[in-house]
């Protein structure tokens, strides 16, 4: 296997620094500093920053600090796209996809912190995949980094009923109830949003 190129490495390193809090919200990024930090030249760093700007993690040279409004906006888009995806899942999903969803729900009940984090992400990922719509998948993926920031809090603070909701969604999909699957997914995301907003606002 060939080793990753500098752009890719830079991208991943900077992204991770942001996601795990080594680079704080509002902190200003300079190409030169990152370059010497990571041991690359400015060229690949610039590309990486462009990509992060595109994903919304960096906004004019500053690490993003999402406002309540941003959060609501992101979740609104998710509700529309993932709601539709859930409907698709209830209509199209294969036996294999169903099995994997069931597995994610199961891990959610008994897994370790990291396993749960992972399973929850996969649960949503699989449902989005069943839409079979690359543009839709792409749009969600681009919001993924920011979403990740919040999924972490939701799991860490152990939001009540999260797994139960996943299970309900899974059941609707398995039972081929498109309308219900969509509705449940939307409600589920709405609750995630409320939980995040509540947490954020009680911390400051």
């Amino acid at each position: 296997m060939d080793k990753k190129k500098a752009v890719q490495q830079s991208y991943e390193l900077v992204r991770d620094k942001i996601l795990n809090g080594q680079l704080l919200s509002g902190e200003k990024i300079t190409e030169e500093k990152l370059a010497t930090d990571l041991g690359f030249s400015r060229t690949p760093i610039r590309d990486a920053i462009k990509r992060l700007e595109y994903e919304g993690l960096i906004i004019n040279k500053k690490v993003v600090k999402p406002t309540d409004k941003d959060l609501r906006n992101i979740f609104q888009v998710r509700m529309l796209l993932e709601g539709y995806s859930a409907r698709c899942a209830a209509t199209y999903s294969s036996a294999e996809q169903l099995a994997t969803l069931a597995e994610c729900v199961e891990i959610g009940k008994n897994g370790s912190y990291d396993e749960i984090m992972d399973a929850n992400e996969r649960f949503h990922q699989i449902i989005v995949q069943t839409s079979g719509n690359d543009k839709l998948i792409d749009t969600i993926n681009r919001m993924q980094s920011i979403i990740y920031l919040f999924r972490k809090t939701v799991v860490f603070y152990n939001r009540p009923f999260l797994i139960e909701e996943h299970e309900d969604i899974y059941n609707a999909i398995r039972d081929r109830l498109p309308e219900r699957a969509e509705e449940l997914m939307k409600q589920h995301l709405e609750k995630d949003l409320d939980f995040c907003l509540h947490l954020i606002n009680s911390q400051n």
Copy 2:
């Protein structure tokens, strides 16, 4: 006013070359060639290409050639996001926004080719704006270039009922009928899609 930077110029030049057919679907792009063509160095050209890749106009160094499936996918996302936007418009839109929408419909009836093109684009643009959701607006804008490619054919071949549909949507918004506005917008986009697909497939 300060003159645009090389990246911005390159971006616009290359994009326009693609949109007006100077660069054909499937044609392969090389940085060096574009650089000497446009009289810049490779550096800004690379950035411009990256941006066009993000927008989906270039896919691994080739000018994109959207398939039927791509077209369906884009329109599906638009139906979800613009449908929701129409609902918002029917709920929130200001008197000024309503007036501008009415104006777009009017131009659609009597304007010149270029005016109609412009008015149709603005019609959709305004409705999307009323959502007040930056993420949503952003997502649509990123698909704008590809959408443009098709809007051109729709107007050029003078799709029947296009203006009437805009008017119906406008009326629903003005009369504050969110459900209806959403439904009409979705139907409208569905018809645009069918028209595009029909044209494309009858040409090849």
